[in-house]
């Protein structure tokens, strides 16, 4: 449900048309990366490290290469040497080029179990798999550093012997697994704590969790003799794949064409390349197209989860309920290579609150685990689990209502974040008010072992470059070409913005996501940016087309453009308005009155509108088993403007579901040898339909002034509040404050017992 009715000035925006790409998806015809077939296609498989930390002394591929059906075997030696320290942008995170290279195929060392070491192309996947067992790798096994606190200690095994710690912006001389330590500070926290009447200090731990997209990574490459490389893959950013592959393989970007297939979920995990450079090299070596598909276990072991973390939060408030000081420390496991989202986490940690005295420290720490990747509002969910739990405890101690407390302390326009920037127009207060007025908040929760929790969350959202091309068809429809991967309905959201400008129904626009040769640069599908920046590009392209259509109508009527008015899909000649032409009529006359027309735009969308969300969760905890069931969940979120409300709700519901999974079940469970013990969907338990209630949504619309329709972006912030909301609900249900994720049955039972023994 939306709090405001579709604005009367719009005829398309705010409605709920059937999405354009839906039909192919409900009949099984949509082509995803694994569905690519072509003549002469070979299958590739990847050999992965069995050790979390080892030196590669030698690799013997001769036996594998001799197996009938095998066409090529490659190792890191086949990647054109990239010893570069240059940073490669991955969209929401960045990585040094040489690290990206060894994450694709390991060089002289492996840094996690599951890291790719060699690859085989063969006439069938089964033969390629057999060949893997014939590759002999001689490892010198090294002791691993397996969690963030151990890895930070002096004397811990070093992952990168040459890495020097960076501290407060300076490179130190210290060899350490701490890649970076930084601090944001505002005012003087020590003074703030002196003014506090209550102070709460807590420590938190969260396990690594995976994005869990249902489609495993898959990629196909063809390398022609003229040096032109074509890649079909499932990615959130086709232009990013192009630049990563070209840089790694030292070939011109213009030689690489990336054809994005339909993508079966990403959530941040499909920004960096894994398979693409490998199949490209194999295609070059064999002269055949080569396809690789990861197994689910490879997805868990060989691609990036979001980091495990250790966090400390201390906050103080006075009797009136004003927060007087806050201190936060975030230590994130980057995995094998630097680049965890601790930066974003640190900027988001206290972003909901207007604070005079606050400090946030962040540590990016390498450990012998998978290189972490972005996951939906990267870093913000960790930080919110810690901060929103402590805020809840302040409310308990002060006997204040959690929403009133946030209304008193929450940020408004003009307030500054601890890391510096001031907020423009934001809708946090509107979100809080809507939550406060919601029947869910107003209806008392009854029953044993039940509790209600509340938490809020912030995410920046992002913008960036996007391109769009809109061509008129003679029948009055338009073809819209764009470059951003559509993971959850953005083709519809972008087409609707063009339709609004052109005064035609959404189904008269045919949107298509095309390859990197067929559209101008478009940045990735991430940062909740597509409906915002792609929508802006479509808006501008439609305006461009509209202007040309008005000029054409003027030409037909032998007048000038300022005498033509365009309204609701109709061209009218001023001043009498007696001569009229519909959009469709004009479309039919284009070819005989001067030729076809198309609009185009390339934009760099900068007027980003940040997002706030709040979640109310009711839980019931079974004290016998420790199992927690979420009985009811409501999310309130500022969307700026919901273009297609159903898909906005879908993002909100999906984010809450992932947040609940993170809260209650999901974790990379590592043995003390550094092996992930649960790399299947059986043992890595994501929520099923049976684990969740219906998820109620309230869309708040505080328009973003940086977008013609007010769009902010909706994809990421809904995952931020749920873990803390569930933890806060559990506290009220059973009187135990859970500080570690996941709050699985075993952990809950242990906490209940510890409380019985007077420990909590």
């Amino acid at each position: 449900m939306t709090t405001t009715a579709p604005a009367p000035e719009y005829s398309v925006i705010g409605t709920r048309p059937i999405r354009h790409d839906g039909l192919d998806k409900v009949i099984g015809r949509a082509k995803y990366a694994a569905d690519i077939q072509m003549a002469g296609l070979l299958s590739a498989k990847i050999l992965r490290s069995p050790h979390p930390h080892a030196r590669i002394k030698s690799i013997d591929t001769s036996k594998a290469a001799a197996l009938p059906g095998v066409r090529a075997v490659i190792t890191a030696a086949d990647i054109p040497a990239v010893a570069s320290d240059r940073m490669q942008d991955l969209g929401e995170t960045a990585v040094r080029l040489r690290f990206l290279s060894s994450n694709v195929l390991a060089g002289n060392k492996v840094l996690y179990k599951g890291q790719a070491v060699a690859a085989v192309a063969a006439t069938s996947a089964h033969i390629a798999e057999e060949a893997l067992s014939l590759i002999k790798v001689d490892y010198e096994v090294l002791p691993p550093a397996l969690n963030v606190l151990d890895a930070m200690k002096d004397g811990a095994p070093l992952l990168h012997e040459d890495m020097l710690m960076q501290e407060f912006g300076q490179r130190t001389t210290k060899h350490s697994n701490i890649a970076n330590h930084f601090r944001f500070k505002k005012g003087e926290p020590a003074d703030g704590f002196k003014q506090a009447d209550v102070v709460v200090e807590r420590e938190f731990n969260t396990a690594a969790v995976h994005q869990g997209y249902i489609e495993p990574h898959a990629a196909t490459a063809n390398w022609n003799v003229d040096g032109k490389l074509t890649i079909w893959c499932s990615t959130q950013g086709s232009f990013n794949v192009r630049s990563q592959v070209a840089t790694l393989l030292k070939i011109p970007e213009s030689n690489v064409k990336v054809i994005p297939t339909e993508i079966g979920g990403g959530f941040g995990g499909k920004l960096g390349v894994y398979l693409e450079p490998v199949v490209a090299l194999l295609a070059k070596k064999t002269g055949h197209p080569v396809k690789a598909i990861m197994s689910r276990t490879e997805v868990f072991e060989g691609t990036g989860p979001t980091p495990g973390s250790y966090m400390k939060v201390k906050m103080g408030a006075n009797k009136e309920g004003r927060i007087t000081a806050a201190e936060v420390s975030l230590m994130f496991e980057a995995g094998a290579f630097p680049g965890s989202p601790v930066n974003a986490g640190a900027m988001c940690a206290l972003a909901c609150y207007n604070l005079d005295n606050a400090q946030v420290d962040g540590y990016d720490v390498v450990v012998n685990k998978q290189k972490t990747a972005a996951y939906r509002a990267p870093g913000a969910t960790h930080a919110a689990m810690a901060v929103e739990s402590v805020v809840d405890e302040l409310c308990e101690n002060l006997k204040m209502d959690p929403i009133d407390f946030r209304i008193l302390n929450g940020v408004k326009q003009g307030d500054r974040r601890v890391d510096g920037p001031a907020f423009g127009k934001v809708g946090f207060m509107e979100v809080l008010q809507a939550a406060k007025n919601h029947p869910h908040w107003k209806t008392p929760l009854t029953g044993k072992n039940r509790g209600r929790g509340f938490a809020a969350g912030f995410w920046f959202n992002a913008g960036g470059p996007a391109s769009c091309y809109i061509a008129m068809n003679p029948d009055g429809t338009v073809s819209l070409i764009e470059g951003a991967a559509d993971i959850g309905g953005t083709r519809a959201a972008i087409a609707m913005q063009a339709a609004e400008v052109l005064g035609i129904p959404a189904d008269k626009v045919t949107p298509t996501v095309v390859d990197t040769d067929s559209i101008g640069y478009t940045s990735l599908t991430g940062g909740s940016s597509v409906a915002f920046k792609g929508g802006l590009a479509a808006y501008e392209a439609a305006q461009d087309l509209k202007k040309q259509l008005i000029e054409r109508a003027a030409k037909i009527w032998e007048t000038t453009a300022d005498n033509v008015e365009f309204e609701k899909g109709e061209f009218k000649l001023k001043p009498s308005y007696e001569r009229k032409m519909t959009f469709t009529e004009l479309a039919g006359r284009l070819l005989t009155t001067g030729g076809p027309l198309a609009g185009r735009a390339s934009v760099d969308a900068r007027g980003v509108g940040p997002a706030f969300a709040a979640v109310i969760a009711d839980v019931e905890v079974d004290p016998e088993t420790g199992k927690t069931q979420v009985l009811r969940a409501t999310i309130v979120q500022d969307a700026g403007k919901a273009i297609h409300p159903s898909y906005v709700e879908g993002q909100m519901q999906g984010g809450v579901a992932q947040g609940i999974g993170w809260a209650l079940n999901e974790e990379y469970f590592f043995t003390n040898q550094g092996t992930m013990a649960n790399p299947t969907f059986l043992d890595y338990r994501m929520p099923t339909a049976l684990d969740l209630p219906m998820i109620d949504t309230v869309i708040v619309e505080v328009a973003n002034p940086g977008h013609p329709f007010g769009v902010r972006g909706v994809g990421e912030v809904p995952i931020v509040p749920p873990p803390a909301a569930v933890a806060n609900a559990m506290k009220r249900a059973i009187g135990v404050r859970m500080t570690d994720l996941p709050m699985s049955p075993g952990a809950v039972l242990a906490a209940i017992q510890a409380k019985g023994n007077g420990k909590r």
Binding site: R16, V26, D35, Q37, I214, G654, A689
Partner: protein, 162 residues
């Protein structure tokens, strides 16, 4: 490599023959041998439901069935749910209720939902949740999927009542 086996079966109502290795799963055969890529592989171990097909009318995960087991059987995949006359009401309901985001889980959910409504035309919300618990969706939080199945069930009964 073992010799390939000649299998005679029926897929989506059409008599079909194929050659497959004994070790190939039905999912692999459908996708790579027969060319029906609508059934998806999310896990290859029976835990995601993206590969769900009907096997003599029973719901199965095709990654856990061998291709050779299809001999003499009747297999229905997502490609066989719509008719030339139009979409199945479940497919229509998925579109109208925005019950898909990335869409990779959608074929499995639609086939599984059909298996349910073929047996129980009017299931409760809880019954639908239980029946579909073998199908993972990471995008939607299930809310709109459950509503779509309830919607389809209602519409199918209205048609029957007419």
């Amino acid at each position: 490599m073992a010799d390939k086996v000649h299998v005679r079966t029926t897929i989506n109502g059409e008599a079909t023959e194929f050659l497959c290795e004994p070790r190939q799963s039905l999912l692999e055969v459908l996708r790579d041998v027969v060319g029906l890529t609508g059934s998806k592989e999310g896990c290859n171990d029976g835990n995601c439901g993206a590969c769900t097909v009907l096997f003599n009318g029973r719901m199965v995960t095709s990654c856990l069935v061998l291709g050779v087991e299809a001999e003499g059987k009747n297999v229905t995949t997502i490609e066989g749910i719509a008719t030339p006359a139009g979409l199945h009401p479940i497919q229509q309901a998925f579109l109208e209720n925005a019950a898909l985001q990335c869409g990779i889980c959608t074929p499995g959910f639609i086939v599984a939902a059909k298996a349910l409504l073929d047996r129980e035309p009017n299931p409760s919300e809880q019954r639908i949740r239980l029946w579909l618990a073998g199908n993972l969706c990471r995008c939607t939080g299930y809310d709109k999927i459950i509503r779509a199945v309830m919607d389809a069930s209602k519409k199918m009964q209205e048609v029957k009542a007419r």
